[in-house]
Amino acid sequence: MQDWLKYIGLTLLVLFLQVMLVDNLHLFGVCHPYIYLWVLLMLPIDIPRWLQMFIGVAIGGILDLFAHTPGIHMAACVLVTYLRPLMLTGFVQDAERLKGSVTIETIGPDNYLRLLALLVVTHHALLFLLEAFTFAHFGYTLLQILVSSVSTFLLVLLFEYVRKST
């Protein structure tokens, strides 16, 4: 119970940071980190998968409201929450025995890096392609995906290490 309160509090804090601070940074027009992937990745693993997806819908919906992008974050978050358990089973032995949040401690640094990288790239690819809704400026979209993925990856790692060491 207490873990859940902690998780919800952290989620609200990160969402607040995302919409009030990060969304207002316009770095070179192509770099748009989505730090909320950190809490999406951290979501406890021992709850039913349908519930995980609905939590994805909720988080994505809140972001869509603030970013005025109907459905885009929702689609990307649902994809992440659907793929996360599948990727975990692929990376971690005895994945079904995992309990609680997915962190560096629970799945190990190697697996965490791999999982994070894959999820960030899939999330950003879907998000920016949906946002563009065309392949016309594909080079630009690709650049957005790459640069933003790298920045999200690094920021999430930073958060994760800060969390771990406190």
Binding site: H26, M53, P70, Y82
Partner: protein, 274 residues
């Protein structure tokens, strides 16, 4: 039948995933239409409230430059008043009998507003302003800034409104060349927020770099002669019948903080006969 049920149970997570993606996709496709605007209006009270709180903090850091911009705008307005007074003095088209008379197509009321949230790095950018229904704002009102055209009001709640700016791929602005009144359509493509394209400029039209583009006045949204931008580059291929025109937009969306919403006084009358 039982096999089918087993299949559904076995793939229930995948089916749920597909279902949720379809829902999200419907939102994406239907975005910015009526349903979304409705939902938006309700959510605006919460979202807008938070954005305003955020803005009230951030605006302290901008007070100095904001004041400078306002002073600049004031100065320009005074200049305009002076120029108009001079014209009136000289006779112009304002004769004694029509002094104080406003031509119907210039009868706009200006509602000053502050930008409390904005985006510039998307295909469909937006601005949120701190004015809404209670200030007399409705959808499809034009918005201008100190340098020129900004956008069109897209959805309104009681206290806030969301504007689709010129840098929104769904917005087309009816414009004209100031020097000869030739009509063309301004349309923006991501990602460069300082440049847009001018469409429908035929080969025979006299257009060169540095020409000024203004609004045409052919709508109930903007009066004529509001600056839109300046022609930066004109290209035409050997066999093309239309020019490719790059326009440097008059408004800098990065530094836009204060705007005016235009309320056309005779919109209903005009709509009822058109």
């Amino acid at each position: 039948m039982r096999n089918l049920l087993q299949l559904i149970i076995r793939y229930s997570n995948f089916l749920l995933f597909l279902g949720l993606e379809v829902v999200a996709f419907i939102f994406v496709v239907r975005g910015n239409r009526y349903q979304y605007a409705t939902m938006h209006g309700a959510a605006n009270v919460v979202v807008g409230g938070m954005q305003q709180a955020h803005n009230s903090i951030v605006s302290y850091f901008r007070l100095k430059s904001d004041n400078e911009l306002l002073l600049e705008e004031n100065a320009r307005l005074h200049e305009q008043i002076m120029a108009l007074e001079n014209r009136q003095e000289a006779g112009g088209y304002c004769q004694d009998s029509t002094a104080g008379y406003i031509f119907a197509d210039r009868d706009y009321q200006y509602i000053p507003a502050r930008v409390i949230a904005y985006s510039v790095d998307r295909h469909h950018n937006y601005l949120t302003l701190n004015r809404g229904v209670r200030d007399g704002v409705t959808t499809d009102m034009g918005v201008i800034g100190k340098d020129g055209i900004v956008g069109v009001v897209q959805s309104v709640s009681n206290r806030f409104c969301v504007v689709a700016p010129v840098i929104h791929e769904g917005i087309y602005i009816s414009s004209m060349l100031q020097k000869n009144g030739y009509l063309a359509t301004l349309h923006w493509h991501a990602p460069d927020v300082s440049r847009a394209g001018l469409e429908d400029v035929a080969r025979h039209v006299d257009i060169t770099d540095g020409d000024t583009i203004v609004t045409s006045g052919m709508s109930a949204i903007f009066p004529a002669n509001i600056p839109v931008g300046v022609v930066e580059q004109v290209k035409i291929g050997e066999g093309d019948s239309y020019y490719t025109v790059d326009v440097a937009l008059a408004t800098d969306f990065h530094s836009l903080r204060t705007v005016q919403i235009l309320n056309f006084a005779h919109r209903n009358e005009l709509d009822s006969i058109q």
